[in-house]
Symmetry: C2
Subunit: 288 residues, 2 copies
């Protein structure tokens, strides 16, 4: 995957653009939230879909990919806050509020939402798809069915598991697949199902990792779902049931790849990604 | 001013659009953050500038005005959080975190940023000025010189007062004047100075109110600037000096109104607004 250096470069450029004149603490907190990154799975998916659809205006796809990752990083900063997960570590390092304090963590999360929009609009300013791309992003981020709404379900006495997971995790995956398609100049809607299935698979794999791995292996506190009484597919279906569900979703994702120029590239990526997500012994089961 | 019902209507419509399927607690927190409102001074300024510039596409101006107010309301929700002002009341009612808890307050603030962008883009989707309008909004909201950066200066050991106030308060006023101009199809830049001067005047008037009024009169905790050791023009210049500064800024704002179709309408509005902002005994001094 050559896309990783492109994504890191686009993220660097986005942060560099707001550095001069920015309060130094906030600038440092923003950087800490974005680097070093995780697997950058959402922006890589976005670029892979754009490429599979024929590329189109590559700068637009790159801007969309960076925007998705900035949004994701911002949501992690807020998720880690004491009033949510109260997580002191993230990606094996102190979380943003642990290192820079709660005020700057709230502001860094806010700032990353704004920076995501700004990065996308700067990249797509000349594109006929600008409005569509921004509205995909706001739908995935906001209400009623985006990331923020997903997180808010955790404050409700009764949580509809499917709506919750779709909003909290699948939303950024559908944003990735649909934005990749739009950036390449093809209709977005046929790419929604792929994003939904990958997002759900990812969420369940994440639930499994939360149960199966130690905090050190995870780079963040383990066993959080159970400790916080949060809905978890691993708990709901049991470990074996959850693995079977991931397997079914991955097969379903492969099937859901719409007709495009380079479907095989995308299918290979999907299999590789999901294998990486699961703890090794579980990945073997899925690959079988 | 006929614009107030339009603004309330646009805000209602924005919230209504995300209601169905939204987690009920989040939906209620969003509504509580926006209604009942304050003076809606920023969106009214935006519409007044658009009208003074000849109107243009009125739906675009209305969307921009609503977006500015949503952004403002979101920033108040986060400003009131325990890690910032720790304010239990706002506009005479419980603040969002007081009423709905800290988690939903963080999410409501996040959600209002996203909703601001979404509302603007929906209104301006067909406009040739879409990209420009969104970039004005993100610059005013984000880094290095927007609202979020302004708030982050409060976490720094040394605070540059002018940069701080420009970012924290003037940014949404320049957004209002410049967006109003762009919505009407005229260049934004000549309208920046007016917004800067009004924003600074507003900030100093707010500092004065914080010193001069009781919590009941303010509808939020009084004496917060001093209690939190926050930079305040009222403290820096003394009450009389601060009133003189407001007066000079209002005169400067009047002078800064660029050539346009209906300058008198705008000048009348500016004088009326500033009079309303100051405690009565101070307003007399300014009007003199």
């Amino acid at each position: 995957m050559k896309s990783l250096p492109q994504i890191e470069g686009a993220l660097e450029a986005a942060l560099d653009a707001v550095n001069a004149g920015c309060p130094p603490g906030l600038a440092a907190a923003l950087r800490h939230a974005v680097f070093p990154g995780g697997m950058r799975v959402r922006p890589r998916l976005c670029l892979a879909v754009a490429e599979a659809c024929g590329g189109g205006d590559w700068a637009v796809a790159e801007g969309a990919a960076a925007a998705i990752e900035l949004l994701h990083c911002g949501s992690l900063v807020h998720d880690d806050l004491p009033c949510f997960d109260d997580a002191a570590i993230r990606r094996g390092l102190p979380s943003v509020h642990e290192k820079y304090g709660e005020s700057l963590a709230v502001l860094a999360g806010d700032g990353l939402i704004v920076l995501a929009v700004e990065t996308l609009v700067k990249a797509a300013a000349g594109s006929p798809h600008l409005g569509k791309l921004v509205l995909l992003l706001t739908a995935a981020a906001g209400m009623p069915g985006g990331l923020i709404a997903g997180q808010a379900w955790e404050s409700e006495p009764r949580v509809p598991l499917v709506a919750y997971q779709k909003a909290k995790t699948a939303s950024l995956f559908t944003l990735a697949t649909m934005s990749g398609a739009v950036a390449a100049g093809v209709p977005a809607e046929p790419w929604r199902l792929l994003g939904e299935r990958l997002g759900e698979a990812y969420q369940i794999a994440d639930d499994l990792r939360d149960v199966a791995l130690t905090s050190e292996e995870l780079g963040k506190p383990a066993g959080r779902d159970a400790a916080l009484g949060r809905p978890s597919a691993a708990q709901q279906h049991g470990t074996v049931g959850a693995i079977e569900k991931v397997e079914a979703l991955v097969r379903g994702a492969i099937v859901a790849v719409p007709p495009c120029r380079k479907p095989e590239l995308l299918k290979t990526l999907i299999l590789a990604e999901l294998g990486r997500l699961l703890p090794k012994e579980l990945a073997v089961l899925v690959a079988a």
